[in-house]
Symmetry: C2
Subunit: 414 residues, 2 copies
């Protein structure tokens, strides 16, 4: 009982086709039942005291229901009537399930472990326009991971130098070039100049190599300017844009997807670890992956399993599962692995993740002793060889791939 009504429905039968279920891990200074009711109240109808405006009918129609409490693990499950949630409005979903609840005084910690969506809610969203298969069809690459690179230094190159670095990477085996997450449009590297230079050289690289290439141009900006930048990409024949989906917000991703621009949407997750890495208040990365899939991302950074960024193997693979699982007809999202990667990590990564992954190397390509071209060659060699099932250790002994040998001499092998 919390206020006039009880939110406890432990052990009751519910129609799960009409409810979202959120799983919270809770530590509280009060009894777990009281904490669970407080969370259910705050994230739905929100009464903590007697209200003259509340009626049993309204309460039963829209209140969240605590359906399970496990005192040992601190896990509680709360079911939300699907009618609480506005279609096409993930901000509203977060404001409810992941909003004020984090601030409840009674709680010492609150972690959202998972949100399980019924088909009705999932079908509010169109999901990815391309997804794994669309990206593979676009590139005509079916049998290996995609090789990506981030232009480095993150910031400092002019638009022309940026294009030149991209060109060199593409010529030497890279499939996808992306901007860094903090490069948008600054005086030293204007977005509109950059896109026109890079996409011009993309055409040349495609002609020279006979391979299709992708440029993920970072269009993170206010909504009107974001669309203008996407249009610049289309006008110059580009097929992909990138968005910092958390710092700009999921509403922006939904809005971009809705334009139906026929552009692959590359999702960067900068700032995620402020939400997903702590120990007391936050949520699992797999939830962000799920929401981004609903909102229509085609490829998403979810971690490397190996590399310079945190993220346990279990956490990364849980997010990978959310991108890849059958989900009421929504397309699968391509896993992007990025952060401290180099050729010596490819074999291990593919053994864990499989081939449906974009392996992004920044410093691991541009930092090669022979420069960007040699670095790109080494990275592509690693991917091609591993995809053909060859052991890199054995290959290195042959000396047939000198760039790869040099990369592994510098950075080692996992």
């Amino acid at each position: 009982m919390y206020g006039d009504y009880s939110y406890l429905h432990l052990g009751e039968d519910l129609d799960f086709s009409q409810h979202l279920v959120a799983i919270f891990r809770v530590k509280a200074s009060v009894d777990l039942k009281i904490a669970a009711e407080a969370i259910a109240a705050e994230s739905s109808v929100g009464t903590w005291t007697h209200l003259s405006t509340m009626t049993p009918a309204k309460f039963n129609f829209l209140s969240a229901k605590v359906i399970a409490i496990d005192k040992k693990s601190g896990l509680i499950k709360i079911a939300y009537p699907v009618d609480l949630w506005e279609p096409d409005n993930l901000a509203q979903l977060l404001s409810g399930i992941a909003g004020n609840v984090f601030g409840l005084k009674e709680l010492d910690s609150l972690w959202i472990e998972d949100i399980i969506f019924p088909e009705k809610y999932v079908r509010y969203y169109e999901g990815p326009a391309f997804g794994v298969n669309g990206i593979r069809d676009y590139l005509k690459i079916y049998d290996r991971p995609i090789l990506g690179t981030i232009i480095k230094p993150k910031l400092g190159l002019t638009a022309k130098e940026h294009a030149q670095a991209a060109y060199e990477a593409w010529l030497n085996g890279v499939d996808l070039v992306k901007d860094d997450e903090n490069l948008t449009s600054q005086p030293f590297n204007n977005f509109y100049d950059r896109v026109s230079y890079v996409l011009e050289l993309k055409k040349q690289a495609e002609a020279k190599t006979g391979e299709k290439k992708i440029y993920a141009a970072n269009i993170t900006a206010q909504p009107d300017e974001m669309l203008r930048r996407a249009q610049q990409v289309m006008e110059h024949g580009g097929g992909c844009v990138m968005l910092d989906i958390l710092t700009t917000g999921l509403s922006m991703l939904e809005y971009l997807r809705k334009q139906d621009y026929n552009l692959i949407i590359h999702g960067h997750r900068a700032m995620h670890a402020a939400l997903t890495r702590g120990h007391d208040f936050g949520m699992n990365m797999s939830i962000i992956a799920k929401l981004a899939r609903l909102a229509g991302v085609d490829e998403l950074h979810i971690g490397t399993v190996v590399g310079k960024m945190e993220g346990s193997r279990q956490e990364v693979m849980q997010a990978n599962k959310e991108l890849m699982k059958p989900w009421y007809g929504l397309k699968r999202v391509m896993h992007v692995a990025s952060g401290g990667l180099h050729p010596g990590l490819v074999e291990k990564m593919v053994s864990i993740i499989g081939k449906n992954v974009i392996i992004n190397m920044g410093g691991g390509i541009h930092g090669h002793p022979g420069g960007t071209a040699a670095g790109a060659k080494a990275a592509r060699q690693a991917i091609d060889l591993v995809s053909r099932g060859q052991s890199l250790k054995e290959v290195l002994k042959t000396g047939k791939y000198p760039q790869l040998n040099k990369a592994i001499d510098k950075w080692g092998m996992a």
Copy 2:
């Protein structure tokens, strides 16, 4: 030295008119100098290995500089050239300073304590259109806190019932009525209906009371729909809109402000505690307050000092300071206090925060034993009496304000 270059500039003189300074509190598995360099690199030019594309000139122009390290407290200060940051793009700022850095493996914890902006950066933004004085002029209330209420239950009322509850609150002394953060436009309470009903009754309440009233309509939605909802508010003569600024993203707040709609923007901070409450990865609420002020919020939820939500007195007052301090000509933002408030908390709150505050009571009005009207009267009585310097304890003894007595009998007094 991190890669080829050193980011350490300890004790050097810097031109602070050309740099942002971020203060991080760090725990790391490596030496604090190395951790500081890793953070500086990742949040600026980002080289961790030798790059053929990097030159000393580029590095010096754009790299972040570690200017102070205190091993005892774990505090480090990093200065960023202002040219790193795109004007009118707070998402880009977050992607840099508060982006990948949270994910660096070497760090056991990373907390952003503060960001200090030079005048040059602050002047990229127009800040609030109304601010404290504009809101006071709009309401013609100069000598007391503003009394707000959230319609309760959070969800469940129809649009007409919602309007009726607002009307009753306004008639009985409430100045501002706001929607709840998870009420946007759902089938049981459509936004467009709600706004037309509520604003019609607002006019009637203003005529009857001779007081100006505010309705903060929650327009949180995708960008185009957000603007449509704002336009609905304008067309029906409303003067204020509300936005869930974190779940929808600061880019949306910037975009709304830029429209120059002549609407007061009420900022709700749902989800903030996932960023601000933990102990290992996150940032202070005062930073969110600062960013929202830049982006143009007029009134912002920053905590109650007392009430049902966490937030120490120090934390709330630090955010209050950021809303109120002189800041290169930007208007001051009105403090919104909300969450578990009731008349018995007014005196203590005003003694701490002062009169420049919107005191929002939801359950603390609608939950009054005499219903919404009696609750609104009690709340307004508390505010009026406290603002005239009277002690509520003494007033209660007189029995002159029976609604107030009943409220305090039910909820007590701080």
